[in-house]
């Protein structure tokens, strides 16, 4: 099975250079997040030279209004941005998949209650809801993560619910009942493992959105506080300087943000091709 999956993954990658590129960018992003702060040439929260220097050999992305090296800050911020997004997606993946699968598998009241909860969240403009949650709970990294998880919850519930309900009447579920297994066992051991590949695709697609959401909250001043290096804050700080000609302060963190979102979306599309059994021969 795993050998066949690997062979299939290789086939998809060889036939699809864009996905291979996405995997490469993903590895680069994760590597930067892990090693970045140790590798940067300057301290990201201390002045490294004169303020508002344009890009140069010493400061490839220039320096900001108080003389910090933008390159070091962009690299160092990767860990925080990716970390927040990963944490939020991990939480929503666990909670959303489980409740959605339970709703789809058990149906009835379980389905109605979980469905209503998801619909209630969907009724709000999601970014406004995230702002509200952070404003109410307080300006911390933890609360950004919670807010990002909450706004993604309905999506996970819906997908897991649909996939579980199509498997509810599957032959192997009835076979497990004939083997004497109870409903909870069937949900955890027969249904959930079959949902994981589909949910993993969703994880990748939502990671991009989660990064945007976390950065967006910081951009409007909720969540991560200066001087911590974070792409959203850096774009916010640099935005006013664009008018006076110092374009580099906002541009480079913005580009980093764009590349990250782009990577996860491409990766999700690629994973879908690998996971989708209809593409297997």
């Amino acid at each position: 099975m795993s050998a066949a999956s690997l062979a299939h993954a290789r086939h998809v990658l060889s036939g699809n250079p864009v996905t291979a590129l996405a995997f490469g960018l993903f590895a680069l992003l994760v590597g930067t997040a892990i090693l970045g702060p140790a590798l940067v040439p300057f301290d990201p929260i201390a002045a490294a030279g004169p303020a508002l220097q344009p890009p140069s050999a010493r400061h490839p992305f220039g320096t900001d209004a108080i003389g910090r090296d933008v390159f070091s800050r962009v690299i160092a911020a990767t860990r925080l941005d990716l970390g927040m997004a990963f944490a939020a997606v991990a939480i929503v993946f666990a909670c959303g998949t489980l409740t959605g699968a339970a709703a789809g598998f058990f149906g009835g009241w379980t389905d109605r209650i979980i469905g209503r909860l998801a619909d209630t969240i969907m009724a709000f403009p999601l970014f406004v809801l995230a702002m509200g949650i952070v404003a109410a709970l307080g300006n911390t990294v933890t609360n950004i993560v919670i807010a990002t998880a909450v706004v993604n919850f309905p999506l996970y519930v819906r997908i897991a619910r649909t996939e579980a309900s199509t498997r509810r009447g599957a032959g192997y579920v009835e076979a497990a009942r004939l083997s004497g297994y109870g409903e909870a066992h069937i949900l955890f051991r027969e249904i959930l493992p079959n949902l994981l590949p589909i949910m993993m695709v969703q994880v990748s697609l939502t990671l991009g959105y989660a990064i945007l959401n976390c950065a967006g909250l910081s951009f409007i001043g909720l969540g991560v506080r200066p001087p911590a290096p974070e792409w959203g804050i850096m774009v916010a700080e640099g935005a006013s300087a664009i008018i006076s000609g110092e374009w580099w302060i906002a541009l480079f963190p913005g580009l980093a943000l764009m590349i990250a979102v782009f990577t996860f979306n491409l990766l999700g599309d690629g994973l879908r091709d690998i996971v989708d059994p209809r593409r297997r021969t």
């Binding site: 599957a170 032959g171 192997y172 009835e174 076979a175 497990a176 083997s179 004497g180 297994y181």
Partner: protein, 336 residues
């Protein structure tokens, strides 16, 4: 084949609520009468065929008997013990679970794609027989061998097996716990004829060896004729005719059975000049009129009385029963 019956089914009924049912629903939900007043007995070693059109309730009846569904009424007794009252959700914990097993139509779908053939066969043994370790391994390998599955296929996943091999895994899983009653829901309908023969041979051999009683659901009357001792013909949830397979097929007593048998094409036999053809479609199974024959309207010999009264069950010689106001008894009597 003598002695007390293994399975006694009496007045078995299953109704599904349709539509409505929500908190704010104004009208009472309709009831789909899937299985209505079905009674029969089955002895050990006997094979009972269950035939009828799709939607006639044969698959629902199979699932009621396999205790995957709860009946709305009536009783199911296995070796004299009432098992219809135990909720399907709790039947897994019943000591009778191992005695009733089922083989599904879609062999591929009945094996979890993430389980190997070994795991599929091992699961009922582990749970219902408490086997583990070498004992489990030995029993799985022996059952697989009995079902014509060589040991080298056991580590494979369902998508790595051929259609016939998957059918064998499904059968091995069902017979692993040595059930007294085996419910077979169209086990060969997805297979090519050359493979079908092998699977039918296997089922026959397993039955001879274990003495299990079989309920064989099929739409292929040629196969039912081959495998079954007795046949129940169902129409819209009710049994319209019951009898020994050969008699029933050669001299059907119910007009529906006659149409069903007449519609079967036989390889190498030219088309009969005059054949009964059923016009129209079955009536709706939702809240049917209790005082009318359900076949009325499609029946070629129906009369006014059929629309006013449910047909009585006539006992015919040779252990046959037919539910019709005007059974075609001449042929049936001649056959008996």
């Amino acid at each position: 084949m003598n002695g007390a019956p293994l399975l006694e089914v009496a007045a078995l009924q299953k109704r599904f609520p349709i539509g409505g049912g929500g908190l704010l629903a104004r009208r009472a939900p309709g009831l789909l009468h899937a299985v209505e007043d079905v009674s029969f007995t089955l002895r050990a070693g006997e094979t009972l065929g269950l035939v009828g059109e799709s939607g006639c309730g044969k698959s629902t009846l199979a699932r009621l008997l396999a205790r995957l569904l709860d009946p709305s009424g009536g009783s199911i007794r296995l070796r004299g013990e009432e098992i219809g009252g135990v909720a399907a959700q709790r039947f897994g914990a019943s000591p009778r679970r191992a005695d009733i097993q089922m083989v599904f139509q879609d062999a591929e779908g009945s094996i979890n794609p993430r389980h190997t053939a070994f795991e599929a066969i091992a699961r009922p043994l582990r749970r219902l027989r408490g086997l583990a370790g070498p004992a489990l391994h030995g029993k799985v390998t022996a059952t697989a061998a009995l079902c014509g599955l060589p040991a080298e296929l056991l580590p494979r996943f369902p998508h790595q097996l051929s259609g016939g091999q998957k059918a064998r895994v499904g059968i091995a899983r069902a017979v692993a716990t040595e059930p007294a009653l085996l419910v077979l829901d169209e086990p060969t309908s997805a297979l090519d004829v050359s493979v079908q023969v092998l699977i039918l041979d296997l089922l026959k051999a397993l039955q001879a060896r274990t003495g299990a009683a079989c309920i064989f659901v099929s739409h292929d009357l040629n196969v039912v004729r081959l495998l079954c001792d007795r046949v129940l013909v169902m129409y819209l949830g009710r049994v319209v005719e019951e009898g020994p397979a050969e008699d029933l097929f050669t001299a059907p007593a119910h007009p529906y059975t006659r149409a069903l048998v007449g519609a079967v094409s036989v390889p190498g036999r030219p088309r009969a000049a005059e054949r009964v053809r059923l016009a129209g479609e079955p009536r709706s199974p939702i809240d049917p009129d209790p005082n009318a024959c359900r076949f009325h309207g499609r029946c070629p010999i129906g009369q006014d009385r059929c629309a006013r009264a449910a047909p009585p069950v006539h006992a015919l010689p040779g252990g046959r029963r037919v539910a019709c106001h005007f059974p075609l008894t001449d042929g049936a009597l001649a056959a008996a």
